[in-house]
């Protein structure tokens, strides 16, 4: 079995559209959406939501005004600047609270209590290309715990049950914890880059992260003709660092059209050229 993660330091380079197109080339895969803040793969594949599994997050706190003796210890102790003195009344700003519970445990009069916890969730859906497992953060939540490990483990189970050979993972943008969890243990990370001014830095960051987690990485350049000089710089960089270049795709408005029509690229009129290139790249990926 092979696990392939699609990543990019910069957002909007075409990760989800390309992931969906790759999925359409094979009949034997399990899909994972690890973009926990922007679950777009299921929108694109037009699947209805299934049963959700909630994963409780740490509980935030609030201060009972009547019990508070205004000693200010909670504000002094908070490392996240989440306790404010609002005209003599101490208040916790829930969105800034990191649920460390220090103030709750330290309060001399037990005036601080938990609020109801938020729930991250994950679920699985049937798409025309195979099962899709997704993870979604509650709004304003940070990625704590093991939400991405849960869905990656579940995808492995499903792949074994169904005898699928490939797990294709749509990663979140940037290079933070969520991306690290999306590539660790994968057989290949496909870093997509567009030739904007930050392109070389972007590919460098993706490679740095992949090597930290000992994942093989290959590069794919999208919108390559927007800035041919930068495309060349990216290619040179890949060559110098022995990063295989999977191919390049010229700028094409079918990507925007696919978004507008909420369709996979292969279903968009006039997408033959792009789809042909992507099909070849997919063959390359399978070979790697």
């Amino acid at each position: 079995m092979k696990q392939i993660s699609i990543i990019s330091a910069k957002g909007g380079v075409g990760k989800t559209a390309i992931t969906a197109a790759f999925a359409s080339f094979t009949k034997s895969l399990v899909l994972v959406d690890c973009d926990t803040e922007s679950n777009d793969l299921r929108l694109l594949l037009n699947t209805e939501s299934s049963k959700q599994n909630d994963v409780k997050t740490n509980q935030r706190v609030f201060i009972q005004e009547d019990d508070c003796i205004r000693c200010g210890l909670c504000k002094a102790l908070c490392h996240f600047d989440a306790v404010h003195n609002d005209f003599g009344v101490y208040k916790v700003e829930t969105v800034h609270c990191q649920a460390c519970d220090l103030c709750l445990k330290a309060c001399p009069v037990s005036a601080i209590q938990h609020v109801e916890s938020l729930a991250n969730n994950w679920g699985e859906l049937d798409t025309q290309y195979g099962t899709l497992v997704y993870a979604q953060l509650a709004l304003g939540e940070d990625l704590n715990g093991n939400l991405i490990s849960i869905v990656r483990d579940r995808a492995l189970e499903i792949a074994k049950e169904q005898g699928k050979e490939i797990i294709l993972i749509d990663g979140p943008p940037a290079v933070g914890y969520a991306v690290a969890s999306s590539i660790s243990g994968a057989d290949l990370a496909v870093a997509i880059v567009e030739p904007g001014p930050s392109a070389v830095h972007d590919i460098h960051k993706a490679i740095q992260l992949s090597s930290r987690y000992e994942v093989a990485v290959a590069c794919l350049i999208n919108k390559s003709d927007l800035n041919p000089e930068m495309t060349k710089e990216v290619k040179d960089y890949c060559q110098e660092n022995n990063i295989p270049l999977l191919g390049e795709i010229p700028f094409d408005e079918v990507f925007i059209q696919a978004n507008l029509d909420n369709e996979v690229l292969t279903e968009i009129e006039g997408s033959e050229a792009v789809v042909g290139l992507l099909a070849n790249i997919w063959q390359e990926i399978i070979k790697q």
Binding site: K10, C100, K105, P197
Partner: protein, 292 residues
């Protein structure tokens, strides 16, 4: 002169946050005596500096976090720190007198230090990132940057916010998403401009951010970028929700090409420049209305 901190936000990556932030910044700077501050708060992958052809030497501030260290000699293995830690970042095996802080899980909340009655936990500082301040011929550019992959971003964003506290007009480019790094970046702003793409993913992501901003009781409006058609679905939604739509930037290959070459669009399109200047005026007016 108005005091106005405007965050540029977009849940989905690549909708055009950076493009809007840059062009709005230059449009305001070109307007008049205003000196605008541009802030890159996307600290994981700050990209704005690539769009300045020449930057002066920066003044740099290092941002550190405190990571606890346990003195094995002083530790009595009482387990209070383990009990206090909400993130399971302290591993203790009492029977073998073993205790260790797991740095990757530590959020530097300070709970273990507070919990310890034996003065066995001290804190070492570790560099989390830096803030660079560039004084431009007109205006300022401030960038927050994280060095390593760590769970928490807030100390950098908190310091960024302190630095711009007395800046009259600020444009703040925020990280994508709708989680903690985003809510931190908008915590002290006066107005948020939500950038979206047309289509269902764009709208779905927009709704999430609107929900958050409403929870935070922040004022906001929307810009549609890469506009290709009439944007009927988004417009209907915004009308129903009484959210102002301030601008539609058409999808043009020219724009994509110029932006990818680090060119500022408004320097090549005077009509667009005018629109960005009007956009700023609209925000000023909306803000005034809200304040009453």
């Amino acid at each position: 002169m108005e005091f106005l901190k405007i965050a540029i936000a977009g849940n989905k990556g690549g909708v055009g946050k950076t493009l809007v932030a840059l062009n709005l910044f230059h449009a305001i700077n070109d307007l008049s005596e205003r000196a605008c501050t541009l802030v890159d708060a996307h600290i994981q992958v700050p990209n704005l500096y690539h769009y300045f052809k020449k930057l002066p030497k920066a003044e740099e501030v290092i941002v550190s976090v405190r990571i606890p260290e346990i003195d094995m000699e002083a530790c009595t293995f009482c387990g209070r720190c383990v009990h206090y830690c909400a993130f399971d970042a302290i591993l203790m095996i009492k029977d073998s007198n073993y205790i260790k802080v797991l740095d990757d899980y530590c959020t530097s909340c300070g709970a273990c230090v507070y919990a310890c009655n034996d003065h066995a936990i001290s804190e070492r500082t570790e560099q989390l990132g830096k803030i660079s301040v560039y004084d431009l011929p007109k205006g300022r550019f401030i960038e927050g940057r994280m060095f390593a992959v760590r769970p928490l971003a807030s100390p950098i964003v908190i310091q960024l916010n302190e630095l711009i506290a007395d800046a009259p007009v600020c444009i703040i480019d925020t990280p994508p998403g709708n989680s903690y790094p985003f809510t931190e970046a908008v915590r002290n702003v006066d107005f948020t401009l939500l950038v979206t793409e047309p289509g269902k993913p764009g709208l779905t992501n927009l709704k999430d951010q609107i929900k958050i901003l409403r929870n935070l009781k922040l004022q906001f409006a929307v810009i549609i970028n890469k506009s290709m058609q009439d944007n009927y679905v988004i417009k209907e939604y915004l009308k129903k929700e009484a959210v102002p739509l301030l601008m539609e930037i058409p999808f043009k290959r020219d724009y994509a090409g110029l932006h990818s070459k680090a060119e500022i669009l408004i320097n090549h399109d005077t009509d667009l420049k005018l629109q960005f200047q009007q956009l700023f005026q609209q925000i000023v007016d909306l803000k005034k209305e809200a304040v009453g």
